[in-house]
């Protein structure tokens, strides 16, 4: 599947496996910054690891501290490879924006319509290209 209907929130290209859910996630309290493991017992991805994956969630939720968590994960190298979501609140985007300024490392974020996100399954191969998003396409 090739997606043309998307918005770039944080620029960058990437290819990685998807870790996908339709449940919003709070990075603070919901994720271990060192290991990248999801620890929110109310979340269906609990105990899965997001490091190096394209994290596909509809929204973030909960704490305003999610941004600090993502910033530190970018510093440590435990962040997802990218985030694909329906709406990227500032809590998601801030970490990569300052990560780029302070450490020269970022994490691309793109948004797609909810009906597109709901098609993605964990293990799908997601590619952020300059002009499209590929899902399970070489």
């Amino acid at each position: 599947m090739i997606i043309k209907d998307y918005r770039v929130m944080v620029p960058g290209t990437v290819t990685a496996e998807a870790l996908a859910s339709n449940i919003p996630l709070s990075f603070w309290g919901g994720v271990n910054v060192e290991s990248g493991e999801i620890q929110d017992v109310h979340h269906d991805l609990c105990s899965q690891n997001m490091t190096g994956k394209v994290l596909c969630i509809p929204y973030d939720r909960g704490s305003c501290s999610g941004s600090g968590m993502i910033f530190e994960m970018i510093r440590q190298g435990s962040s997802p490879a990218a985030i694909l979501c329906v709406e990227a609140e500032a809590v998601l985007a801030l970490g990569p924006v300052i990560g780029k300024k302070i450490y020269g490392r970022s994490m691309p974020i793109r948004t797609v319509p909810a009906e597109v996100l709901s098609l993605i399954r964990t293990g799908d191969v997601i590619t952020f290209e300059d002009d499209c998003i590929r899902i399970n396409e070489e």
């Binding site: 309290g29 620890q39 017992v41 929204y59 973030d60 305003c64 910033f71 985007a93 302070i102």
Partner: protein, 424 residues
């Protein structure tokens, strides 16, 4: 974005690299979210104060600002730390960890903040005016100040809150804009008799229930009793911002932008209505009570926790009345987290003494879910009245949750067993 001459000067480095970095971040964020200009603020509250939320990366960012002589231009209160400044050692933090927090605190103090270290700044003297644009962060506090005070706040992420406070500016986006403050969906409470909504726990469960449904839309609630007080609205604010990402709610007849349905929806009438009944909340509480779903939990209570958000004088007064003459059971802990200022008032009133004599652990300046020691506890079960604890503590502190009223929490602390209360 359109910049004033002063904003241009900050961006061009006239006031140094610290303001320049903060301004660069704000412009990038503002443009990302469609802001056309900045709005000056006279009041700020910074969330990014716990070491376990901003870590070394955040600390280095703060030190960069402080080293470049950045000062906050307006009164700026601060969220809880990862330690109790006076009692961290007694409470079980390591020196190495405490010093990591101190390093971050020092950077903030150099920037001229007010060291309130509380997540309920609105109960410690930071009270903006109705309609005032503020630079606030901390999900419960943003929700409270937007909804209950009617000031204008947006869920500023950690560290963006610092950039805004430093520049004295917020990008004009989100809930700063009148149209975005319109209610999106109506929740009508039906079938609740007078026994409901007498305790914080009901507001916590309702908040979580609504938050989970609306995620980041603005809920309007009809049917909450007139006697609903500040501490209950605090519990609702925290829970709806944890179960979802609620940033603004309107409670008809209670909150200032909602004298009527028409006002809450800004004259719009095509909204969806959902009826909420007691069985919805009983079901929600059952879901949050993870202790009930676990074979590992046998009804023994390791820890009772009140003070998320930070307990007010009034809440401590109520607990002191309930626990006076009794004692926390051996093998069970009862913690109250609060701000230093509310604690000092409790000391003056003799309430702190009653609580401490009964075996209650009082922790100031901090949060059980942001402390180092909290992650090392071997506790299995928390009893709490907080929806925010119910959301986060299972992941952070590795515990099962049992939610209870304030009275139920005290009973659990004294007996060491789950409270015998029929919900609710």
């Amino acid at each position: 974005m359109e910049l004033t001459a002063y904003e241009h000067d900050m961006l061009n480095g006239k006031y140094g690299e610290g303001y320049q970095l903060a301004m660069e971040v704000l412009i990038q964020m503002g443009e990302l979210y469609g802001a056309k200009r900045f709005i000056p603020v006279r009041n700020a509250h910074i969330d990014a104060a716990a070491y376990t939320t901003i870590w070394d990366a955040g600390t280095e960012f703060l030190e960069f600002l402080a080293d470049h002589d950045v000062k906050v231009p307006q009164p700026t209160t601060m969220n809880p730390l990862s330690r109790d400044i006076l009692s961290w050692e007694r409470l079980g933090a390591s020196e190495e960890f405490a010093m990591k927090s101190k390093r971050m605190e020092d950077a903030y103090l150099r920037m001229g903040v007010i060291p309130t270290w509380t997540c309920a700044p609105y109960q410690c003297g930071n009270l903006p005016q109705f309609g005032e644009i503020v630079s606030w962060s901390e999900s419960n506090a943003v929700n409270f100040v937007n909804s209950v005070i009617g000031a204008r706040a947006e869920r500023l992420p950690d560290l963006m809150d610092v950039c805004c406070a430093v520049c004295g500016r917020v990008p004009e986006y989100g809930h700063y804009i009148t149209e975005n403050r319109r209610g999106d969906i109506l929740f009508r409470l039906e079938g609740f008799d007078d026994t409901w909504f007498t305790d914080n726990v009901d507001y916590s469960v309702l908040g979580y229930y609504i938050g989970e449904i609306v995620v980041n839309r603005n809920p309007v609630i009809e049917g909450l009793p007139e006697r609903t007080g500040m501490d209950q609205l605090k519990a609702f604010s925290a829970a709806s911002a944890s179960g979802g990402a609620v940033c603004l709610f309107h409670a008809i007849g209670l909150t200032p932008e909602a004298p009527s349905l028409e006002a809450a929806f800004q004259g719009w009438d095509r909204y969806e209505t959902q009826v909420v009944t007691p069985s919805d909340l009983i079901e929600m509480k059952r879901k949050l009570d993870t202790a009930n779903q676990s074979d590992l939990s046998d009804g023994h209570v390791d820890m009772v926790l009140i003070g998320c958000p930070h307990a007010s004088f009034t809440e401590m007064q109520e607990i002191a009345g309930l626990i006076s003459g009794k004692h926390v059971k051996a093998g069970t802990e009862f913690w109250i987290t609060t701000s230093r200022t509310q604690y000092e008032l409790a000391v003056r009133a003799g309430i702190a003494e009653v609580l401490e004599e009964a075996g209650v652990t009082m922790a100031c300046d901090t949060c059980v879910m942001e402390m180092e020691e909290g992650t090392r506890w071997k506790h299995q079960t928390f009893v709490t009245n907080s929806g925010k604890v119910a959301q986060y503590a299972p992941g952070i502190n590795h515990v099962f949750i049992k939610m209870a009223s304030t009275e139920g929490c005290v009973q659990a602390a004294v007996t060491g067993r789950f409270p015998e209360e029929v919900y609710v």
